[in-house]
């Protein structure tokens, strides 16, 4: 690391001496250990390390990027020169400039009790094999295809820029994904589930991960066996934290990304319907939904999958109140787009690895919990559904027309949650259709893990996709 830090510092001096208006060097040392099992047999395993430096420059209003895994002064010098040449060749009429930010020189790290490398390979495999054994013993042919993926990622980063900012960090993320198929005499149901968080190996036990996965598969098998088609039309809908989390992420988090709003992701992840809203209204005034709706993106919650305290542009992280009491309140910003809006960055810049440029990302986007218990959410519903988990989902690239297909779904009748399971009800709703129908939010919080995809080349970064239960009134099920 020390040699790499010297080289990162060297890159800044070199870039400045070659005429760059801004230089940033990001050294990333990472370790990724992973295991994949299918029906209790390890299918693949690997343990890889990687070290490299990303260089980003602004020259004459253009941006250039180059990365290298060759850690010597010659390679870094070449990378700087190439990045500068690329930036100059852009010939932009409107220069790219960054917001002015407080210069920080600091360190942060994720608390870890048991480092991944200190846990034996046997113990890691045992977790997977034992979990699969338990599932197989319980379900046999009812759960015939079970794939389990365990990933243990850690990195050590050193980010420095020509404005004298310097942030060193150590992070550690553990994830468990399952992709399982349950079969009954009538149907099969599939489920991809992710759980993850920042921390060390202790996370597995402290969060009762094996128990969560087991219960999730109980529900999957039950759904395949019991769920029936019901012709429900307009009903009240309560969705769990898993479903409200994906809604907060897709319908509110993504359109809040300022680079989308101003078109930078136009050819890939798309733009944002917020562009039209902001052309005709102001932050703090645009009504998005009922007053009970507040949606926050917060990287600073300890243990969350997208946890960080300073972003990849050395800006201090804080909670972002995207929607406050029903009104559009704040966008997700990095330094380039903060400057376009004439404000400060709110530290949303993240890069997947040293080969990637930092772009605007969510961390952990959720409905702010309310005062209701889940029983209270159900109690005045005459007829409705409780969507506990979802399967298929998608949304248009302006983030307005979304679809969420229920997986584990129960009928609510006369204020009570029943055992009747409903097969694959569909919420095909606009963002306003969702936010405008929410009238109550529970005080619980569940946080499944997800990989958020954006950028080109694709940067799948870890996020939490959770939150409280929410209740939506008068929802017409099924696509038109």
């Amino acid at each position: 690391m020390e040699n790499g830090k010297d080289l990162a510092d060297f890159a800044i001096d070199k870039g400045a001496s070659k005429g760059a208006n801004y230089v940033e060097a990001r050294l990333v040392e990472s370790r990724d250990e992973s295991y994949t099992s299918r029906n209790g047999v390890i299918l693949a395993a690997g343990n890889m390390t990687s070290t490299g430096i990303a260089i980003r420059v602004l020259v004459d209003g253009g941006m250039g990027f180059c990365s290298t895994a060759k850690l010597n002064k010659k390679a870094i010098g070449n990378a700087i020169q190439e990045a500068i040449k690329l930036a100059k060749a852009s010939k932009r009429k409107t220069p790219i400039t960054f917001s002015e930010e407080k210069t920080v020189q600091t360190t942060w790290k994720t608390p870890v009790k048991r480092k991944f490398e200190d846990v034996s390979v046997e113990e890691k495999q045992k977790f997977m094999i034992d979990l699969d054994k338990k599932l197989n013993k319980e379900f046999r042919l009812k759960l015939p295809t079970r794939t389990l993926l365990l990933d243990l990622y850690s990195d050590h980063k050193y980010i420095v820029n020509s404005e004298k900012a310097k942030v060193e960090s150590e992070n550690s993320i553990i994830t468990v994904h399952t992709f399982n198929t349950a079969k009954s005499k009538r149907e099969s149901e599939q489920r991809m589930q992710g759980r993850g968080g920042t921390g060390g190996w202790e996370w597995i036990e402290e969060k009762n991960i094996a128990d969560i996965i087991f219960k999730d598969n109980v529900a999957l098998v039950k759904t395949a066996r019991n769920a029936i088609k019901m012709d429900l039309r307009k009903v009240d809908v309560v969705v769990s934290g898993e479903v409200s989390g994906i809604m907060a992420h897709e319908n509110v988090g993504h359109p809040s990304e300022a680079d989308r709003i101003l078109g930078r992701e136009g050819a890939q992840a798309g733009e944002s319907f917020y562009l039209d809203l902001l052309n005709n209204g102001k932050l703090g005034e645009i009504k998005m939904g009922n007053e009970v709706v507040s949606i926050i993106d917060d990287p600073t919650i300890p243990g969350n999958s997208g946890f960080y305290l300073f972003d990849d542009e050395c800006v201090k992280a804080r909670p972002r109140y995207l929607i406050k009491e029903g009104k559009l309140n704040e966008l997700l910003l990095n330094r380039e787009y903060a400057n376009r809006y004439g404000v400060k960055s709110n530290a949303a810049a993240r890069a997947l690895n040293y080969k990637s440029e930092p772009i605007i990302r969510m961390a952990n986007t959720f409905f702010a919990p309310g005062d209701f218990t889940s029983e209270e959410l159900f109690e005045d519903i005459k007829e409705g559904i409780f969507m506990k988990s979802f399967t298929e989902w998608n949304i248009d690239d302006r983030r307005f027309q979304s679809k969420y297909v229920g997986l584990e779904v129960y009928l609510i009748k006369n204020g009570r949650l029943t055992d009747t399971m409903i097969r694959r009800p569909t919420l095909e709703l606009t963002t306003f259709g969702i936010l405008g129908s929410v009238d109550a939010v529970s005080n619980e919080f569940d946080a499944p893990h997800g990989m958020c995809g954006k950028g080109d080349p694709m940067q799948g970064v870890p996020v939490w996709l959770g939150g409280p239960h929410i209740r939506m009134r008068d929802i017409r099920l099924g696509g038109n």
Binding site: A44, G62, G64, A89, H177, R264, A267, Q401, D456
Partner: protein, 458 residues
């Protein structure tokens, strides 16, 4: 001996010395450039110098894969013994039945490398700006997109004496043009031959601009059953979910609508013929050999609507008592570790009988033409029940004419059922690879009858 040869030999030697008995060492060296643009201006230009050594190691039936970036003899001497110790603690992989053991004579594929790539980085920014202008001239108000290009050399050495290499170059331009936030059009051009590249880029820009202009003042479409005309881009994405599933690994873990017992059975319209063809010079997935050193070969996947073969490598062909199609890659699920498994090269559709204009002219009843799509997701991958979202120009076709632009609809259907409802295949074959289509696919416009179109309820 070149530096790369020395590294590859050292990799095999160190691995053998550490008790590993089957080894693949694959070095990729090259440059990749990217120019990203939006709002009709270049946002960021990037260059990646790739020097990646991918190593597959087996000890009996225990296997693992590691990447070594910018490898040196020192790094190799350190990493391989560590990985050997890691492997000692692994159980046998039931998926591993051995690798290629015989050196082959490989087919020379003409056109994999165009030497004009060498100075292309000098011209590329200007070509991008010209393509942007072509789109603006065609009616766009702002233009976004990405250009990738570069070259690389792959050098393979295995513990079974296989030692070969090939060089490639490529370009891939995606342009998405906007007249307003909801009126957009996209076009793609990709391949390896840079002859007339400025013309190709400008045509791509103009095509995207034209669709965007046609999409202006689109209105909410009505949900219902429609015949559907899918552009090459859409068909490559939707039907790619089937052909990418012609893979024993995906079938085994429930990520494919195909099953072994469908081989030899009719699963699609008789008009449909698809071959996995790794020998097309322009094909971005072309390769003379797979990562084990097996010769690649043309593999018929669908013949007159019948599922003919699926893709295999050495191990899966042994497991399934099928022909090894030379399709082994270092397979990556996106999460977790890589493994040796088959994957497609280029999916190549046989040209149909219809021009695009004839497909439109033959569409008398209400039909929807979709030019691009994204976010294809499944309720159940074995069933093939899915939905995907049209984006960019989408049009109502009626009485043999494109009548008006539509918006805000979703295709919600079943993959194999759509395969069997194909009613027309175009002649306008185009290579597609972009953000939403990873497998290079040579595919024309395809019409499918009676598709289910849905929309938001509120």
């Amino acid at each position: 001996m070149s530096e790369t040869e020395e590294i590859l030999k050292k990799t095999i030697q160190v691995a053998q010395k550490n008790g590993l008995n089957e080894i693949i060492a694959l070095m990729t060296k090259g440059k990749t450039y990217q120019i990203r643009f939006s709002n009709s201006a270049i946002d960021n230009s990037k260059i990646w110098h790739t020097e990646l050594l991918e190593i597959f190691l087996a000890k009996g039936q225990k296997t693992t894969l590691i990447d070594v970036e910018s490898p040196t003899l020192e790094k190799i001497s350190m990493v391989i013994p560590q990985t050997g110790k890691f492997l000692d603690k692994m159980p046998n992989s039931f998926l591993y039945g051995g690798m290629e053991t015989e050196p082959h004579a490989y087919q020379k594929i003409e056109g994999l490398y165009d030497q004009n790539i060498r100075d292309f980085s000098e011209k590329a920014p200007e070509l991008v700006n010209t393509a942007i202008q072509s789109s603006l001239d065609a009616g766009a108000k702002k233009v976004a997109g990405v250009l990738y290009f570069g070259d690389s050399k792959k050098e393979l050495m295995t513990s079974h004496g296989i030692d070969s290499s090939y060089k490639t170059s490529y370009y891939r331009l995606t342009i998405r043009s906007f007249v307003d936030g909801e009126s957009s059009g996209q076009d793609i051009t990709c391949g390896r031959n840079l002859t007339n590249i400025e013309k190709k880029f400008n045509q791509t820009g103009a095509a995207a601009g034209k669709i965007a202009k046609m999409a202006v003042e689109g209105k909410q479409g009505q949900a219902g059953k429609y015949d559907l005309i899918m552009s090459s881009t859409v068909a490559a994405n939707v039907f790619g979910e089937i052909t990418n599933g012609a893979n024993p690994l995906k079938m085994m873990i429930g990520m494919s609508p195909l099953k072994n017992n469908l081989i030899g059975k009719k699963i699609a319209s008789e008009q449909l013929n698809i071959v996995d063809n790794p020998h097309l010079g322009e094909g971005l997935g072309s390769r003379p050999f797979d990562v084990e050193g097996t010769s690649t070969s043309k593999t018929p996947i669908i013949t007159n609507g019948v599922l003919t073969e699926i893709l295999h490598n050495t191990s899966t062909s042994k497991m399934n008592q099928a022909k090894n199609t030379g399709s082994s890659i270092f397979f990556d699920f996106g999460i977790g570790s890589k493994l040796l498994a088959p994957a497609p090269s280029n999916m190549v559709y046989k040209s149909g009988d219809y021009s695009f204009e004839e497909i439109i002219a033959d569409s008398k009843k209400p039909t929807i033409y979709i030019t691009s799509n994204w976010y294809t997701r499944f309720t159940n991958m074995i069933e093939g029940s899915f939905s995907t979202i049209p984006r960019d120009g989408m049009f109502l076709v009626e009485d043999g004419e494109i009548k008006k632009p539509l918006r805000k609809l979703r295709l919600t259907d079943n993959l194999l059922e759509m395969f069997s409802r194909i009613s027309a295949i175009g002649k306008d074959i185009q290579q597609i690879q972009w953000w939403e289509v990873q497998t290079p696919t040579f595919i024309p416009t395809i019409k499918v009858n009676d598709c289910n179109i849905t929309s938001a309820t509120q």
